[in-house]
């Protein structure tokens, strides 16, 4: 995804067990923070079709 121009930080992977509630919260917060910092995505987002 990064190769095609999606900014690093918009895509996260984590292993979280159902028992790891604290880790889940941490990850969710980190993801939210990083994505917010990047601002709204403009690339690869379809709005109204660009047609004639």
């Amino acid at each position: 995804m990064e190769h095609v121009g999606i900014e690093p930080g918009r895509l996260h992977f984590s292993w979280i067990s159902s028992a790891e509630a604290t880790k889940f919260v941490d990850v969710a917060n980190t993801v939210a923070k990083e994505v917010k910092a990047l601002g709204p995505a403009r690339y690869f987002i379809k709005k109204r079709a660009e047609v004639a």
Binding site: E2, H3, V4, G5, I6, E7, P8, H12, F13, S14, W15, V27, Y43, F44, I45, K46, A49, E50, V51
Partner: protein, 316 residues
């Protein structure tokens, strides 16, 4: 390369006569220069139409999917690798096939030739080993074949077929010292914005004809995701985001399976560098799993198996 034509004809005739195969798949000489047409022969008396030259850049494996009966087929390096992939993916059985191997020295990029003669109309091409002569109404020029190879052939390191029942010539020396991923590295070095521009420009001419998908032997799904209507994953207009979605997802579907045969790029009527979509995934398969598709029947592809030591640095 021309020398193979006669041998292919002889072999096909023999195989059909001896009933070793029901049909034979090869090429026939095209009606316009630099274009050849896939051909299916079942009558041993009609094998004289079979042909081989420097412009057989399609992938004949494409015509094998879910075929029944015994099939003879010509295969150079990349085509043979796709046959391997087809066998692994159960699209054809090994014992259905009689593979006639052709050691390949690369196919000529017809677009590069047209560029070299400034898009003037080419009426005939004479191919003589290392060189070829391009003839038009008011010009005649000689070129060296090595300088006009398809971009994938120029960096190919598997020119000899990896699987065959019969070989039609001596094995050729494999190229060494090529760096196949220079273009990918260039893109890797770009910042996100540059990358976005690169891929947006790349597809700007796309007309969504799906020639790339249909020429690819890997794309054999009964219904492609772009043709699904419930839900409809991708819009059908010429909107650039939809077009990008198609190309990115198509590339993902080829991950760990693409042999870089270049058929997608060759068939694109708009001349889009289609390999830019698949090559990064090929490179990753090479870097992360030391995998090149279609080299052996004995190993499952990397996206097919789990190993505890699989690359997983990206998972936090």
């Amino acid at each position: 390369m021309l020398k193979y034509t006669e041998k292919i004809q002889e072999t096909a005739k023999r195989l059909l006569q001896e009933k070793k195969v029901d049909v034979f798949i090869g090429y026939k000489k095209g009606s316009v220069p630099m274009m050849n047409e896939p051909l299916l022969v079942s009558d041993p008396d009609r094998v004289d139409r079979l042909y081989w030259d420097n412009f057989c850049g399609l992938n004949l494996c494409n015509y094998l999917t879910k075929q029944t009966g015994k099939i003879g087929i010509v295969a150079n390096g990349c085509n043979s690798r796709n046959i391997v992939t087809h066998i692994i993916e159960n699209q054809i059985q090994r014992d259905q096939l009689y593979i006639v191997g052709i050691p390949c020295e690369g196919m000529i990029d017809h677009r590069a030739v047209m560029r070299a003669v400034k898009q003037k109309e080419i009426l005939d091409i004479e191919q003589n080993g290392k060189t070829f002569v391009v003839k038009g109404a008011d010009f005649e020029e000689t070129f060296e074949k090595d300088k006009f190879l398809q971009s994938n052939c120029a960096v190919c390191i598997h020119r000899n077929p990896v699987i065959y029942d019969e070989l039609l010539g001596d094995l050729v020396e494999e190229q060494t010292g090529v760096s196949p991923y220079q273009d990918v590295e260039k893109v890797e070095a770009m910042d996100p914005e540059k990358k976005q521009g690169f891929f947006t420009r790349l597809i700007s001419r796309c007309i969504r004809c799906y020639a790339c998908r249909n020429a690819c032997p890997l794309c054999y799904c009964p219904t492609c995701f772009v043709d699904e209507s419930r839900p409809q994953w991708v819009g059908k207009s010429s909107d650039p985001t939809d077009t990008l979605t198609f190309h990115f997802l198509r590339a993902y579907h080829c991950a760990g399976r693409c042999t870089d045969c270049g058929a997608c790029e060759r068939v694109c009527p708009m001349g889009i560098s289609m390999r830019q979509f698949t090559k990064k995934l090929n490179k990753d398969c090479q870097d992360l799993f030391s995998w090149e598709a279609g080299l052996t029947l004995d190993q499952r592809p990397p996206l097919d198996v789990y190993r505890p030591d699989d690359y997983n640095d990206f998972i936090k």
